[in-house]
């Protein structure tokens, strides 16, 4: 199968109206907001060196914040603002998706607009400003009739730079819940679907080029005072906006939104749940690639209706607990606590995605190792590798304490590479994930944890407060509960890690359903 006949192109194309439309809307809204704020600031500060310097410094600082971090920062900020407005005025707004993405991108667009605006206005020959005064112009007339037209080429260059930046950076708004062309890239990277990654990159690059050219047309139209050119450019932008409004108008806002975090297992599970809801006659969409701190808040606020989380994650991150309880007790307590926030813990799917110490099966048999306690005796001659956060997580401290573990060496690794590294003997032990398909692929074994140092990470299905009494929804999801065992999930994850048409989350979700309930 060649790259060009790959059916995933078709799948990617099917998402285009939704992804492109959202991308265009959030980018142009952000750009418009950025211009509305920046241009007056540039005009007001052009003759005031101190405020001008402060403004440019602030804009430069914003620019040094990585795009992803800036977008992520706006989510908690808006959550806080929303809770304040709720307390004071009784109204709240969604801190999820469009609003934080637009605000962060608008902030991001300000530097080039401000800098070029100020440079353009200050670069005008003072004799011409004097002449404007001399022929009898007031200050506003001088600004509109002389200064702005003369600064236009430099200002437009700034606006075009901002447009290209915003359209590119908008691909990073996926994790805070704003659908964009970044959905292709995030999903593609996580499921090793390079067709999606390429598609997302090309689509956003083409969009950036198209908008840049349209703005260029407007600029040359204004400069040559050709109404036709300026009109064509403006019509092009307007057509782009209009075209992106069409798909939203047809879509029902009553859809159930299934959330997913940013890794393959979550993409598969969200596709599975979406399919189940649709099979039950409910309209449903999947909103994937959400940051793991964003997704719980989004559920609480009702921006998404359901998603799968893991008991140990909520235990530590939402309940802020460091003690470890047996599975059933922990689940029960979690359920009660979540119920106080009207979040329904519908049940467990049947598998855990926990950290586990993993070694090759043959090696374990040769050394007679079955549990972490067995491993502890050999640890001083072995090396261990974990992902970027593992060695600073409470699980690692708990493991060391419970078993007296002390390894010869420890290394950090990209999670995808750990399994191959331990299989090839490059490291002796890895801190892997129990549901990872690569455990089966490389013939590895996850060691038992008899002292329960690692908290349970049962996959659990959560429902938003507004869906607490939704019986049709719950009935549609019930068939999944307790049906997906660890072996099945590992195989599903292994399939999703492949690089062909059968490895797309939709295809794997269909396979998974046939396996667990579709027979």
């Amino acid at each position: 199968m060649s790259l060009f006949t790959d059916p995933r192109w078709g799948e990617a194309l099917a998402h285009l109206p939704d992804y492109l439309g959202n991308h265009v809307r959030v980018s142009l809204a952000a750009l418009a907001l950025g211009l509305i704020v920046s241009l007056p600031l540039a005009i007001l500060t052009r003759n005031r060196p101190t405020p001008r310097a402060i403004l440019l410094a602030l804009a430069s600082i914003v620019q040094t914040v990585p795009g992803l971090a800036l977008l992520a920062l706006f989510y908690p900020l808006l959550l806080l603002a929303a809770s304040v407005t709720l307390a004071w005025f009784g109204v709240s707004f969604s801190a999820f998706g469009f609003l934080p993405a637009m605000l962060a991108l608008a902030l991001y667009s300000m530097l080039p607009v401000l800098r070029n605006g100020i440079t353009g206005l200050n670069g005008i020959d003072p004799a011409l400003i004097e002449a404007a005064k001399g022929v009898g112009m007031t200050a506003p007339q001088s600004l509109v009739m002389v200064e702005l037209p003369l600064a236009l080429p430099v200002m437009m260059a700034g606006i075009r730079t901002a447009a290209v930046w915003v359209i590119g950076t908008a691909t990073l708004s996926t994790p805070i819940g704003q659908t964009s062309l970044g959905n292709y890239i995030f999903a593609g990277l996580q499921t090793q679907n390079w067709v999606f990654v390429l598609f997302g990159c090309f689509a956003s690059a083409l969009l950036a080029l198209a908008v840049d050219q349209l703005l260029g047309l407007i600029e040359s139209g204004l400069r040559r005072r050709s109404r036709v050119r300026a009109g064509l450019g403006a019509a092009g932008i307007a057509a782009l906006v209009a075209a992106t409004l069409v798909p939203t108008m047809g879509r029902s806002s009553q859809s159930y939104v299934v959330g997913a975090k940013t890794f393959a297992e979550q993409y598969v599970l969200s596709a599975l749940m979406r399919d189940r809801l649709q099979a039950a006659g409910l309209s449903a969409v999947a909103r994937s690639g959400l940051g793991s701190s964003v997704i719980f808040e989004a559920l609480k606020a009702g921006d998404i209706d359901l998603y799968v989380d893991y008991s140990g994650t909520l235990w530590a991150n939402q309940l802020h607990r460091t003690d470890i309880k047996p599975r059933a007790e922990l689940l029960a307590e979690l359920q009660t606590t979540l119920a106080k926030e009207n979040i329904t813990l519908l049940g467990e799917l049947g598998f855990e995605n926990a950290y586990a110490l993993v070694i090759p099966k043959k090696r374990a048999e040769a050394l007679g190792i079955r549990t972490i306690a067995d491993l502890a005796a050999h640890a001083s001659t072995l090396s261990i590798a974990g992902d970027y956060e593992f060695f600073s997580r409470p699980e690692w401290a708990a493991l060391q304490k419970a078993y007296g573990l002390s390894f010869r060496a420890q290394r950090q690794m990209q999670p995808d590479f750990m399994y191959a590294a331990v299989a090839s003997g490059e490291v002796d032990v890895i801190a892997g994930y129990t549901s990872d398909g690569l455990i089966a692929k490389y013939d590895l074994v996850a060691l038992d944890d008899p002292r329960h140092a690692i908290p349970p990470y049962d996959a659990i299905l959560l429902l938003a407060p507004k869906r607490a009494a939704d019986e049709r929804l719950q009935a549609a999801l019930k068939p999944l509960l307790g049906k997906i065992d660890i072996a099945t999930m590992r195989e599903a994850n292994l399939r999703a890690a492949g690089n062909d048409a059968n490895s797309s989350p939709d295809a794997v979700a269909k396979w998974l359903w046939e396996k667990v309930g579709g027979r």
Binding site: L128, G134, G136, T138, M145, L150, R223
Partner: protein, 260 residues
């Protein structure tokens, strides 16, 4: 009317920091007069000119224009009723010749059709071909043509007073000569009151009715060329000696017409 000057400076001062740019200057310019203000760079001549239409505000003294104290007149309205010719044109590079010329009438709210007629009249007056130049941008004009447009722009709103800031300084000698003569003719025909700044005494003598000499912010002398030649001030006499010497040397170097 004859007792009241068109422009009157009385004990006017203006400082920029420690520098006294204009130092207690009094000068009256009568209706219909063509006055040249002559001085070197930094003499305060440009400042003196710009005080009249409030491009620069005076520190002290009184300036009147057509009998009104300029401080009591809105500066924008004042500038619209006084024509101003800028050094090297000061044309707006993004506007066509016609739009440059019509700018002050447009600001005054004159209907577009009337402005178009006026622009054509003015192009004829400053001897620019209407068809060839009307829609051009200033960059496509020669230096002399630009300055002709600058003059037309200053005259567009039919001012009675025209201020000129070294209008012909940057032009080649032939163009300069022709433009000077043409403007002198317009001044007479339209009954203008003109104040021109120049550093060139020859130009001042050839064009102006009366000459005012500035140095270090002070008005050293004023009067017709003949009156000035009787001045006792060494700087004034030195300024007058230069054109004379030039004439003598030219006469020595060039054969007199008809002498061959």
């Amino acid at each position: 009317m004859s007792s009241r000057p068109m422009i009157g400076y009385a004990h006017v001062t203006k400082s920029f920091g420690a520098l006294k740019a204009v130092d207690d200057v009094s000068l009256d310019i009568a209706e219909g007069e063509f006055v040249a203000i002559v001085g070197g760079s930094g003499s305060g001549k440009t400042t003196l000119l710009r005080l009249a239409n409030r491009l620069i505000e005076a520190d002290g003294g009184t300036i009147t224009v057509e009998g009104d104290d300029v401080r009591s007149v809105d500066p924008v309205a004042l500038r619209r009723r006084i024509g101003y010719v800028f050094q090297s044109g000061g044309l707006f590079p993004h506007l066509s010749v016609a739009d440059n010329i019509g700018i002050t009438p447009k600001l005054l709210g004159v209907p577009a059709a009337d402005i178009a007629t006026r622009v054509d009249e003015l192009l004829e007056l400053v001897q620019l071909d209407r068809a060839a130049h009307r829609e051009r941008l200033p960059d496509a004009l020669s230096g002399g043509q630009r300055q002709r447009v600058g003059v037309a722009r200053a005259l567009a709103a039919r001012p009675r007073i025209v201020l000129m800031d070294e209008p012909f300084g940057a032009l080649d000698p032939l163009t300069r000569d022709a433009l000077g003569d043409d403007f002198r003719e317009m001044h007479r025909k339209l009954g203008l009151t003109t104040v021109m700044i120049t550093h060139d005494m020859t130009e001042a003598i050839l064009l102006a009715d009366r000459i005012a000499v500035m140095r270090s912010g002070k008005l050293l002398a004023q009067g017709t060329p003949v009156e000035l030649s009787k001045s006792s001030d060494a700087y004034v006499l030195e300024l007058l000696r230069t054109p004379r010497r030039q004439v003598e040397r030219l006469n020595a170097l060039l054969p007199q017409s008809g002498a061959a």
